[in-house]
């Protein structure tokens, strides 16, 4: 394929149609009626052009669980979903708590070449919650880690959380907290409420998430540090974050596509495809999360793409693994839940799925505006088709999508990573 591409007539951020000339890895020109001059032409009439999406929260499973996903298959899935950068969570085997492991993951991402992989470093050694991991070493490594998280587990010890928040200030890092008070959620299987009472499943009370978020916002304010809240799932959490932001504190937050669409009534029938941490909550929570994303209280959509092999999901509920894949369905779900409901326009989508996540992750070359000079990380998206989701067609190695069988709108037509197409005409390159 050539080094330059002329994208004709795409609606930039859903706005007026314009042409984009991509050359040598950057956006060379933006305008109307641009000259092709040896570039490969892509007729983008009717397509929306967005900056390449940035995922703050993905599980690539390598090293350790390559049966579920590898860096290669995961980044292929990311590219198909329109992503040009993903943050790979640290709960691998071995845990990404040293420079060695994060560099390995970073390198695997570069070699695969489908999407930039930015490894997330664990906050504590072995994600055991007791001793800080070598955060500085990971920050200085080739992977240049800036986001640290024990995701999967909560940094529940208040002192450890305080120290972590303080420590990362030295290199402009951010702690991304998985807010789950461990004692209140021992053995929990689903959201605690009417449905859990009916189904006889131990419940996960909303307060287990909200109490930790409140504590961490206050801690971050006290020590003057940044805090990022992973996968917000309750109305109460949104309110607490809104309050914290109103005080000017440096708190950011993310929400998953599935928490914007699905609620706990789906757990009736005990199909573990709906088992996830944090759990699906009530319809009221879904509405509050949508509103929070719309008004910017929640800064980013993050997929929390969590692949699991079939045998870990085809069991009785209590024995099933928690998690849903989501890279390849993220944009369609956001279109359905936020754009088609009038809560967010495409410029807003660009903001929540690219600009802000890139800022939070401190990624220089990602989440840049679609203008001349920016790195050519672009995704072209067709909002018009409606397709029934069939996980068998996914690039991900795993199939645990809760949207299987649902009709979702939209389709990624092309993804460009620094001017090179990783997806062209809807297919991986």
């Amino acid at each position: 394929m050539s080094h330059s591409f002329l994208i004709k007539g795409a609606r930039l951020l859903g706005g007026e149609p314009a042409d984009l000339l991509l050359r040598d890895g950057v956006i060379a020109e933006v305008g109307r009626g641009l000259d092709a001059a040896g570039a490969q032409v892509l007729d983008a009439a009717g397509l929306i052009a967005l900056p390449g999406l940035v995922d703050l929260h993905t599980h690539l499973r390598e090293p350790g669980r390559e049966d579920a996903e590898t860096v290669e298959t995961g980044t292929r899935a990311a590219a198909k979903g329109g992503y040009t950068a993903v943050h790979a969570m640290a709960n691998t085997h071995p845990v990404a708590d040293t420079a060695g492991v994060v560099e390995q993951v970073w390198r695997l991402g570069r070699e695969a070449g489908y999407c930039d992989v930015h490894p997330v470093g664990a906050v504590t050694q072995g994600i055991a919650g007791k001793h800080l991991a070598e955060l500085g070493a990971m920050a200085d490594s080739a992977a240049r880690v800036r986001v640290f998280s024990d995701d999967g587990h909560c940094v529940s010890d208040a002192v450890i959380m305080r120290r972590a928040l303080e420590y990362v200030k030295a290199f402009d890092g951010v702690i991304a907290q998985h807010a789950q008070e461990p004692r209140l959620t021992e053995g929990a299987q689903m959201n605690e409420g009417e449905v859990s009472a009916e189904l006889g499943l131990p419940g996960w009370p909303a307060v287990a998430e909200e109490a930790i978020i409140a504590r961490d916002c206050l801690l971050a304010a006290h020590v003057g540090s940044r805090l990022h809240v992973c996968h917000v799932s309750t109305a109460g959490s949104v309110e607490i974050i809104r309050w914290a932001k109103s005080k000017g504190w440096q708190v950011t937050a993310e929400v998953t596509p599935h928490h914007l669409l699905l609620d706990d009534t789906l757990v009736r029938g005990y199909d573990p495809i709906y088992k996830v941490n944090p759990p699906l909550r009530t319809a009221e929570d879904v509405a509050a999360l949508r509103q929070g994303l719309a008004d910017g209280t929640i800064d980013a959509v993050a997929t929390d793409h969590a692949p699991h092999p079939v045998e870990d999901k085809e069991t009785e509920w209590a024995a099933a693994a928690m998690g849903m894949i989501g890279l390849e369905t993220a944009l369609p779900v956001i279109q359905l839940a936020m754009v088609e409901t009038g809560l967010l326009d495409w410029a807003g989508v660009a903001d929540r799925m690219s600009f802000r996540p890139a800022r939070i992750g401190r990624l220089e070359g990602q989440g840049r505006p679609l203008e001349a000079g920016s790195p050519a990380n672009v995704v072209l998206y067709d909002p018009s088709p409606r397709t029934v989701v069939d996980p068998a067609t996914f690039a991900s190695k795993s199939r645990n999508s809760p949207f299987a069988g649902l009709e979702l709108p939209g389709r990624v037509v092309a993804t460009f990573l620094r001017g090179r197409p990783t997806v062209w005409e809807g297919k991986l390159q």
Partner: protein
């Protein structure tokens, strides 16, 4: 189209009455010298018990055999399942054996639902974790009806660890379907957070409820719950929520005392109460066979089940 009995809510009022009326007729078998009917000859019923429960398993086995069905007992302890064979693989094995019905007891809520997606026969829930135990509710209702007559308007008080009780869940649903009024009595820690949405009343005061009750059903309370801070000591639990002779004296003349078993004598129920004529504990066991015979007959006796929840393929 197949039908299962997984939750007491799977039974409409007509279905429930049909089961009870059928059980009434089938109860006569127990008094005959030939305790057998040919009705389920050629049908295979598999008892798939992942949790130890000799009594329930024997009850289902007797019920199936009295209807001349072939019974295969599959106990998970010591079998390939305990060595890691999945529920799905076990289900596929049963399917290959041509089970017409699978009776499943499992420690995980929702296991019967999963099983139902892998087998073509009828699935009967014999207890799934803390979710439900519908045949227990049926035999309980059968017992109440035999002792007290029609259940419409009857006041049933269920006492104990409701939060962790599959017997309570099934009974609340079935008794409500049959028109009885249910009151749950427990310390607040042992009631689900959303219990207000259930079709029953709630009280923390056992003594206040006793004089109004036609039936008092005591649930088993595990001592280990004390260590998870559900109540401070067993002694305090017994004092506030245990049924002793003094409390029994507050019951109306006709009222009966029930317990699904096994009993913690001295914790939720005093030994003398358990052995008194008001107590239906032993007849509950006998009635269990009749009720389970009725369920098996109605699910397997005809060309298609006459009761139960429909599941699309």
């Amino acid at each position: 189209m197949k039908r299962h009995l997984i939750s007491a809510a799977d039974l409409s009022r007509d279905d429930a009455l049909l089961v009870l009326d059928t059980a009434e007729e089938l109860a006569q078998i127990a008094d005959r010298s030939i305790k057998k009917l040919p009705t389920l000859r050629g049908r295979t019923v598999v008892n798939l018990f992942f949790e130890d429960s000799t009594r329930t398993r024997i009850s289902f086995e007797a019920a199936a055999k009295r209807l001349s069905a072939d019974v295969i007992n599959f106990s998970a302890k010591g079998s390939s399942v305990s060595k890691g064979e999945s529920l799905k693989d076990t289900a596929l094995t049963l399917e290959a054996m041509g089970a017409d019905a699978v009776v499943i007891r499992h420690s995980a809520a929702g296991a019967p639902h999963r099983l139902a997606t892998w087998v073509r026969g009828s699935v009967i829930n014999a207890g799934d974790g803390t979710h439900e135990h519908p045949t227990q509710a049926l035999l309980d209702a059968f017992t109440m009806r035999r002792r007290l007559g029609d259940l419409d308007g009857r006041r049933v008080t269920i006492v104990g660890d409701v939060l962790h009780s599959r017997v309570a869940r099934s009974n609340v649903l079935l008794l409500n379907t049959l028109g009885a009024e249910v009151t749950l009595v427990a310390p607040p820690t042992l009631l689900p957070v959303a219990v207000d949405s259930w079709p029953c009343s709630v009280s923390y005061d056992l003594d206040a409820e006793l004089p109004k009750s036609d039936v008092v059903m005591m649930l088993r309370v595990q001592r280990e719950r004390m260590n998870a801070a559900y109540f401070p000591t067993v002694r305090e639990y017994s004092r506030r929520y245990g049924l002793d002779a003094e409390r029994v004296a507050k019951l109306p003349e006709h009222a009966i005392v029930m317990h699904p078993g096994p009993m913690n004598r001295g914790v939720e129920i005093a030994a003398e109460v358990a052995d008194s004529p008001r107590s239906t504990v032993t007849e509950q066991v006998t009635n269990g066979v009749s009720a389970r015979m009725a369920v098996l007959y109605l699910l397997l006796g005809g060309s298609e089940p006459a009761i139960g929840k429909e599941v699309s393929e």
